[in-house]
């Protein structure tokens, strides 16, 4: 197999749901051997998560699970059995990284806090993702992605003025907490390469959202200005940097929209010409940025009247040819079936999966010229690699494996 940047790195993956598996997806894409430790009595709920292939969940037919768990291995291990816990310790001993996203305190209750892990494996890198972190008075509180988005301010920063918050429409912070975990683990691996020293990393999902709103916090601490004020959030109009027009506009067809942003006078001029120089747009009030910002309602009405008769992709092509930033609001279907950029760059592929068939999957961003991350296998079936990992990675004899299996350790 091609050598990848993280080849030779073994990850003991105790994660579930989305945030943790996002982190280990990245490590696996770049070549780490990621071993998902799964427990039949407390299966990852995403193994039942819709969308599924067929009518009923089988643990192995979730497209949702497949998306977040490609390139990984799965072992079944009953950590409630004392021998199961002992096997887990053997796995930690031979791993470079241990990662989990339980509520804070769970690994401690298993007797596997960082001190205990380090006693087993001196150089281990232990990464925990929880809602509020392992310290602080509310550390026992819990989150889903949307909870963290709400508490960090991101939900409030999304929506039309005078309406309820729109939120994000998905668990943005499950992705992002996973990104920070992958980043932190790779930084810690580099530090270990330099010094031999491992360490513990504590990630609070809410904090991974708070760092994404830095300028808004500074606007308060410096200028005393809050997002809780009239006219905020400003919908799809620009906050900072300020510019106008800047909005989404309805196009021909069912629920079709194009985003158009005009950053300066030259782009306004280009937009005006691309629209065929309509009379309304010749108004001198629109010639300057200040004038455009002051008259956004009229601008948006005029542009919307032009776009609503037109195909969204044609509007985008026309405006981009004129040098104006414009983009179709694309669905997932658009991205997979229609987006010429993603297609030209070979972004989509399929991997065979016993229950999902040729399962569609995206590529690996970013693209490394010599050692690109790559898709090697679809997500593992529940416990698919138990025997392999126990015998080759942990060096068990077949007899020992069968003895433990008979005791109910691998279930």
């Amino acid at each position: 197999m091609t050598e990848l940047p993280l080849s030779g790195i073994r990850v003991c993956d105790l994660t579930w749901v989305i945030a943790g598996p996002t982190a280990t997806r990245i490590l696996a894409d770049f070549g780490a051997e990621v071993i998902r430790v799964e427990h039949g009595q407390a299966a990852d709920p995403i193994r039942f998560g819709r969308p599924i292939a067929g009518e009923r969940p089988t643990l192995n037919n979730s497209g949702f699970f497949n998306y977040f768990n490609r390139n990984k291995k799965s072992v079944l291990l009953n950590v409630r059995h004392p021998m199961g816990m002992e096997v887990l310790q053997r796995l930690i001993r031979v791993s470079d990284v241990v990662i989990e996203n339980f509520s804070s305190g769970v690994l401690e209750s298993w007797g596997l806090d960082y001190a205990a892990q380090r006693a087993i494996n001196a150089g281990v890198i232990y990464c925990s993702i929880s809602g509020f972190g392992h310290t602080g008075r509310d550390r026992h509180y819990t989150t889903w992605g949307p909870t963290a988005q709400a508490l960090s301010g991101l939900t409030l920063m999304s929506g039309l003025p005078g309406k309820p918050p729109a939120g994000w429409g998905y668990s943005y912070l499950d992705h992002t907490a996973g990104y920070y975990a992958a980043i932190a683990i790779m930084m810690a691996l580099h530090h270990r390469n330099m010094t031999g020293e491992g360490q513990a990393i504590d990630i609070a999902q809410v904090e991974t959202g708070m760092v994404l709103a830095g300028p808004a916090v500074l606007d308060f601490t410096v200028n005393g200005r809050s997002w809780l004020r009239e006219g905020m959030p400003p919908g799809n109009r620009a906050w900072e940097p300020s510019m106008a027009p800047h909005n989404t506009y309805r196009c021909a067809g069912e629920d079709r929209w194009v985003a158009i942003a005009v950053r300066n006078d030259a782009e306004w001029e280009a937009l005006r010409r691309a629209m065929g120089e309509p009379a309304w747009a010749a108004d001198a009030r629109f010639a300057t940025a200040a004038g455009r910002l002051a008259h956004q309602d009229e601008l948006d009405r005029g542009i919307g009247a032009w776009t609503q008769e037109r195909d969204a992709y044609q509007v985008m092509a026309t405006l981009q040819a004129a040098g104006v930033p414009a983009g179709v609001c694309q669905t997932a279907g658009d991205r997979v079936e229609r987006d010429p950029q993603l297609r030209a760059r070979g972004w989509w592929t399929t991997m065979p999966h016993p229950e999902l068939g040729e399962a569609g999957i995206d590529g690996v961003a970013p693209r490394l010229s010599k050692t690109p991350g790559m898709n090697r296998t679809a997500s593992p079936l529940m416990g698919e690699h138990t025997y392999e990992v126990m015998t080759s990675t942990l060096g068990m004899s077949t007899e020992e494996y069968e003895e433990l299996a008979a005791l109910g350790v691998f279930m």
């Binding site: 940047p5 301010g153 920070y180 580099h190 990630i203 808004a216 200005r225 760059r345």
Partner: protein
């Protein structure tokens, strides 16, 4: 103490798209030199500004996204400037730039001009759409990228909340930040490869691809069922309409409440809470005992009663009471806060989350801003210096890195 990237030399030539990638490395100990044109990075012109007065050193956007960096001014359009840039890049371990495809090559300052002198160099080129392909030259802003990447089509309103509402973009340049998360992943993977082999490489980081990988359930639905998910107010886009998550508390603030009645254990805790205050007294009737009766999606009268009572209960409490009362009963509920409201939640003080900075217009009067997204036990995040003033370190860096007389 020093971070896990101590000793790593990074040259960054980035505006709004790529500047956060440099910050993530700088905050963890890398020596990041920001190379700016004579007029300054475009991010210095992004508001809000200190006291709303623009100026190259007064952008709060720049303050936040450029901590721990040093600023060097070079005019790459001039031969001397391009030559100095090449020397700096060759002396670095990592280059991050967000110029258009070919832009630096045309100035004799691209990867091809530097790589032969620096076989270990990791060069990360961040662009809206990647180095090649039919959209490589397309113009983009953060909103345009979130539109094309699919994030916006998942985010918006139920018709009863906002009729004919468009897809909604969340603010804060989240598309750019997502691109930076991926750029840093790539840089670190390349660094781990270099740790083993000494070999550098080029990284092509497309914001469009990064965002397209950050849309959770949307792609699985398309791949598995050829279904596009639909937008819903303040909750997940899904194949069908789902129950509401947002409720208005008695103080007018929004709370995020979900999962009520899902399992018997949590239902018991919530029921006892409600009943202790005189709400939901009918919940003791046996018809509420079956979890299936309590599921909104099944349209049972019990579910409708539960949601009506939930709304009354929430309206009779402040958002803070609902949030904390729910969390104490192991419900992952939240309150929809403005970003700065976390400043007044002591949990984050307990964790030492906030960083304090000074800058032009606030000399000697430090202000708070967000600190680290992660706690490293051995090599912590550290604010060593605030964002640099324009060109503040030109002489210092050229002397230190290139041995030039100042």
């Amino acid at each position: 103490m020093s971070g896990p990237l101590a000793g790593l030399r990074v040259v960054e030539r980035c505006g709004a798209l790529g500047q956060y990638a440099g910050k993530l490395l700088a905050d963890m100990g890398a020596d990041v030199v920001k190379v700016e044109p004579p007029g300054g990075s475009e991010a210095r012109a992004i508001g809000p500004f200190v006291d709303d007065v623009p100026g190259p050193n007064r952008s709060l956007n720049f303050w936040y996204f450029n901590t721990n960096k040093r600023s060097v001014v070079l005019d790459l359009a001039e031969p001397d400037g391009a030559a100095t840039w090449r020397e700096l890049a060759a002396a670095a371990d990592v280059v991050i730039e967000d110029g258009r495809p070919g832009e630096l090559d045309r100035l004799g300052a691209g990867y091809r001009a530097v790589a032969p002198q620096a076989p270990g160099l990791i060069w990360c080129a961040m662009t809206p759409f990647g180095q090649d392909g039919p959209w490589a030259e397309y113009e983009a802003t953060d909103m345009v990228l979130l539109a094309l990447g699919g994030a916006m089509m998942m985010n918006g309103y139920d018709p009863e909340d906002a009729e004919e509402a468009p897809p909604i973009r969340g603010h804060g340049d989240q598309g750019y930040l997502t691109a930076c998360h991926y750029a840093v992943q790539g840089i670190l993977a390349a660094l781990l490869w270099r740790d083993r082999t000494g070999e550098g490489q080029f990284i092509d980081c497309s914001a469009h691809e990064a965002i397209s990988s950050t849309t959770e359930v949307a792609l699985p639905y398309w791949f598995t069922q050829r279904v596009n998910v639909i937008r819903q107010t303040g909750r997940h886009a899904a194949a069908t309409r789902t129950e509401r998550w947002l409720y208005r508390a008695g103080d007018g603030r929004w709370v995020l409440v979900f999962g009520v009645g899902r399992d018997n254990a949590s239902w018991k805790r919530i029921k006892e809470w409600f009943q202790s205050e005189g709400f939901g007294l009918q919940f003791d009737e046996p018809r509420f005992d079956d979890p299936l009766n309590r599921q909104a999606a099944r349209g049972s009268p019990e579910a409708a009663e539960i949601f009506a009572e939930l709304g009354r209960f929430i309206a009779a409490h402040t958002a803070e009471e609902v949030y904390r009362g729910g969390q104490e009963r192991r419900q992952a509920w939240g309150i929809v806060r403005s970003p700065e409201e976390a400043l007044f939640d002591p949990h984050w003080d307990d964790r030492g989350f906030w960083a304090e900075v000074e800058g032009e217009g606030r000399e000697g009067r430090p202000v708070r801003m967000p600190g680290a997204p992660y706690r490293f036990g051995a090599t912590p995040w550290e604010l060593r210096r605030p964002a640099p003033k324009l060109g503040e370190h030109t002489g210092e860096v050229l002397a230190e890195w290139l041995g030039r007389e100042t």
